[in-house]
C-alpha cells in the first residue's frame, strides 16, 4: 500500500468492556486524509468511548487503532489536536497565556498570530479565560486543539450550547480547516451540522456501527420519499382516505414518494395548504429511524 493510500486513522475491530457493560462491540472503519468524518449516535451508544480510544485516551479491551498505519504512541499525541466538549482551563490565565502554555507542550507549533487570526481571538486575547462567552470559549478551545498544527483534529460536540450565530461562525471555521486539507473527526448531536460539515459518517448504536456513508448517499439509500408537514387539525380531514399521517405533537407528517399526487389528495380532501411544509428527508429522520425515538440515558 502506498503512503498516500494509507488511512490517516483506522479502527480495527475495536472492543471496550467496562465492568457491567460492553460499550463498544467490534467497530471498524478507516478515515482517509483530508475529509471530515462524523461519528454519530445517541447517548450511551458507545460513541464517546470509541472517540476516546481513537484519541488514545482510553485503551481498548481488544482491537487496535492505527494512525498513519502505526500503533498509537508519542507521535500520535504530538500530531493530533483535540477539542473536548467540556474542559476546564487553568484559572487566572488569559487567552494569550493559555495559548503560550499549550504551545510549549508541543515540539511543533503553529505561529500564534496565524492561530489568533484563524480562530478570531484578537478581541479578547488579554481576557481571563473564565470570563469568555460560550462562543469565545469554543474558539479558544479550537485554537488550543490547533496549536500544534495537527493533521488530525477531533472535535467532540464542539457547538453544544452555542447560540445560532456562534454555531454558524464555528461551522465557517471548520469549513476553512477542511479547505486547508485538515482531517477532522466530528461528533455532534446536531444532524444539520453533520450534514453540512461531514463527507462521511458512521452511526453507532449499542456499541456497533449501524450505518455508514456520505450523508446524501445514506439518505438516498434509506429514503425515496419526502415529508409533508401539516397542522393536526387539517390532517384529521384525511381520516379514512388513502394518505396516512403520523402525529408529531400538534403537527402531522405524511411520507410520500410522489409529492404532486399527495398534494392532489390533500386538495381533494379540502385540506388547507396555507401551513403546508414540504421538505426532503434529513439526516435527523434517518438517525431517528435507525436508533428509535426512545429517550436514552
Amino acid at each position: 500500500m502506498s503512503a498516500s493510500s494509507v488511512p490517516i486513522l483506522e479502527a480495527v475491530d475495536l472492543v471496550k468492556h467496562f465492568p457491567k457493560v460492553r460499550a463498544v462491540d467490534g467497530i471498524s472503519f478507516a478515515v482517509p486524509a483530508g475529509i471530515c468524518f462524523g461519528l454519530l449516535g445517541p447517548n450511551g451508544a458507545g460513541k464517546s468511548t470509541t472517540i476516546e480510544m481513537l484519541e488514545g485516551l482510553l485503551t481498548p479491551t481488544s482491537g487496535r487503532v492505527l494512525y498513519h498505519g502505526e500503533r498509537l504512541g508519542q507521535r500520535h499525541r504530538e500530531r493530533i489536536g483535540i477539542q473536548f466538549q467540556n474542559t476546564a482551563l487553568q484559572d487566572h490565565l488569559t487567552v494569550h497565556e493559555n495559548l503560550r502554555f499549550f504551545g510549549a507542550l508541543y515540539p511543533v507549533r503553529r505561529p500564534l498570530s496565524e492561530l489568533i487570526a484563524l480562530c478570531q481571538l484578537e478581541e479578547f486575547l488579554d481576557r481571563d479565560s473564565r470570563k469568555l462567552s460560550g462562543g469565545q470559549r469554543q474558539r479558544l478551545l479550537l485554537a488550543i486543539a490547533l496549536i500544534n498544527n495537527p493533521d488530525l483534529i477531533f472535535l467532540d460536540e464542539p457547538t453544544t450550547g452555542l447560540d445560532p450565530q456562534a454555531r454558524r461562525n464555528f461551522w465557517d471555521m471548520v469549513t476553512d480547516l477542511k479547505r486547508l486539507g485538515n482531517t477532522i473527526v466530528l461528533t455532534t448531536h446536531y444532524m444539520e451540522e453533520a450534514y453540512l460539515l461531514c463527507d462521511d459518517i458512521v452511526i453507532v448504536d449499542h456499541g456497533k456501527i449501524i450505518a455508514r456513508g456520505a450523508p446524501a448517499q445514506l439518505l438516498a439509500q434509506h429514503f425515496n420519499d419526502s415529508v409533508l408537514e401539516l397542522p393536526m387539525v387539517e390532517a384529521r380531514k384525511l381520516d379514512g382516505g388513502p394518505l396516512r399521517y403520523a402525529a408529531i405533537g400538534e403537527s402531522a407528517e405524511i411520507l410520500t414518494p410522489d409529492v404532486n399526487a399527495a398534494v392532489g389528495v390533500l386538495l381533494a380532501a379540502g385540506v388547507s395548504l396555507a401551513q403546508l411544509r414540504i421538505r426532503p428527508r434529513t439526516l435527523e429522520d434517518l438517525f431517528i429511524e435507525l436508533t428509535g425515538r426512545a429517550l436514552r440515558a
Binding site: 485516551l57 499525541r77 473536548f84 476546564a88 487553568q90 484559572d91 490565565l93 510549549a104 507542550l105 515540539p107
Partner: protein, 343 residues
C-alpha cells in the same frame, strides 16, 4: 531546550501564575500565620500559666508517684519521664521545663536553672517536702519565650496546610473539571506534571514563608541562633515531603469532599502530635513514636533546634534523612498511583 524542560517549565509557570493571581489564597497564606503567631504570643506570653512541668529521670521499673518521692504528689505540677539527661538538661536551660529530678544516681539530685523564677519556687516546695533530700545541681540559660518556641510550630503548621491542601485540592479539582484529561491529550507526561506542581508549590511556599518569617522576626523579635541556610534547607526538605504526601492523596481521587476529609485526617493528627503549640515532652510514648512517622515532627524538631539552640547540620541530619526518606516514598507512591482521569 529539550522537550522535558520546556514542558516542565511551562507547566510550572502556568501553575505559579494561577497561585499568584489568586489574591484571596495568596493573602490568606501571607497574613494568617502572622496573626496567629502574634495572637498566640499575646495569649500565652503573659503571666498566669499555672502548670509547672518537671522532668524525672528514674529507673524504668519505678513509677512516677509518691513511692519514688513525696514531692511527686505535688499538685499543679506535671511530672513526666525523661530517659536521657543529655536531652533533658537543655530543656531546663531553655526554660521549657522548670526542674529536672534525677533518681538514677545515688544520691538522687535535681537540676535547677538559676535564672528561672518558677524553678526556684519549685525548689522551695521540693526542699519543704518530706522524703529523702536531693542534691542540688544548677545550670543557667536564657529563657525562650513561648512565642520563640511556638512560631516555628505555627509557620510549620501553615506550611503543612499549604502543602497538603494546596496540592491535594488543586490536583483533585483539575481531575474533576476535566483539565487533567485535557493535559493528557498533550505530550505532557505524568511525572512532568507532578514535578511542575511540586516545584511551583515548593517555590511559592518558600517565598511566602520567608516573607512571613521576616515579618515575625521584625515584629515579634523572634530568636534565631543558627544558620539561615540550615533553616532554609530544613524548610525546603520538610515542605517537599508534605507536598509529596499531598500528591499521594490526590493521585487518583476526583471528589473534593473525600479528598478534603482525608487531608483533614492527615493534618489534624499532625497539628496535635507534632508539637505545633505544645511540647510533646511528657506525652505517652506511643504518641511520641507515632509522631516520629509524621514529616511535620521532623521539620519542627530540626527548625527549633536551628532557631532556638543554634544547631547545625551535624545535629539535625537525622531529621533531614527522615524527611528525605519520606519524600522519596511519597513521591514514588504518588507517581505510581497517579491517574489523569476520573474512573
Amino acid at each position: 531546550m529539550s522537550g522535558f524542560w520546556r514542558r516542565l517549565s511551562a507547566t510550572t509557570w502556568a501553575r505559579s501564575l494561577e497561585f499568584i493571581r489568586d489574591r484571596a489564597s495568596l493573602g490568606w497564606n501571607l497574613v494568617f500565620p502572622v496573626f496567629l503567631v502574634a495572637g498566640l504570643a499575646f495569649v500565652f506570653s503573659g503571666p498566669g500559666q499555672p502548670l509547672f512541668k518537671v522532668a524525672v529521670l528514674a529507673p524504668s521499673t519505678a513509677k512516677l508517684d509518691v513511692d519514688l518521692h513525696p514531692f511527686l504528689s505535688t499538685p499543679q505540677v506535671q511530672f513526666y519521664r525523661e530517659t536521657d539527661r543529655d536531652s533533658a538538661l537543655p530543656k531546663v536551660q531553655r526554660h521549657r521545663i522548670d526542674l529536672l529530678l534525677d533518681f538514677t544516681q545515688t544520691p538522687a539530685r535535681y537540676w535547677l536553672n538559676t535564672q528561672s523564677a518558677k524553678g526556684e519556687l519549685l525548689e522551695r516546695l521540693l526542699i519543704a517536702s518530706p522524703g529523702a533530700k536531693l542534691e542540688r545541681e544548677t545550670t543557667t540559660g536564657r529563657e525562650i519565650r513561648y512565642v520563640d518556641w511556638v512560631a516555628p510550630g505555627v509557620l510549620g503548621m501553615n506550611m503543612m496546610f499549604a502543602c497538603l491542601f494546596g496540592i491535594g485540592y488543586v490536583v483533585v479539582r483539575y481531575r474533576k473539571n476535566g483539565y487533567l484529561k485535557r493535559l493528557n491529550a498533550t505530550p505532557l507526561r505524568p511525572l512532568e506534571f507532578l514535578l511542575a506542581q511540586l516545584i511551583s508549590r515548593l517555590a511559592l511556599i518558600l517565598i511566602v514563608n520567608a516573607a512571613v518569617f521576616a515579618a515575625c522576626r521584625v515584629v515579634l523579635g523572634l530568636r534565631m541562633e543558627g544558620s539561615y541556610f540550615d533553616l532554609l534547607l530544613v524548610t525546603a526538605v520538610g515542605a517537599f515531603s508534605m507536598i509529596a504526601m499531598g500528591l499521594v492523596v490526590s493521585a487518583r481521587m476526583s471528589s473534593e469532599e473525600v479528598a478534603g476529609g482525608i487531608l483533614n485526617v492527615l493534618s489534624m493528627p499532625m497539628t496535635v502530635l507534632c508539637g505545633v503549640f505544645f511540647s510533646m515532652d511528657g506525652a505517652p510514648r506511643i504518641l511520641q513514636l507515632a509522631a516520629q512517622l509524621l514529616p511535620l515532627t521532623h521539620m519542627l524538631e530540626a527548625a527549633r533546634a536551628v532557631m532556638l539552640d543554634g544547631a547545625g547540620l551535624a545535629q539535625i541530619y537525622p531529621n533531614l534523612v527522615a524527611l528525605a526518606a519520606m519524600s522519596v516514598i511519597y513521591l514514588g507512591l504518588g507517581a505510581a498511583l497517579f491517574k489523569w482521569r476520573q474512573d
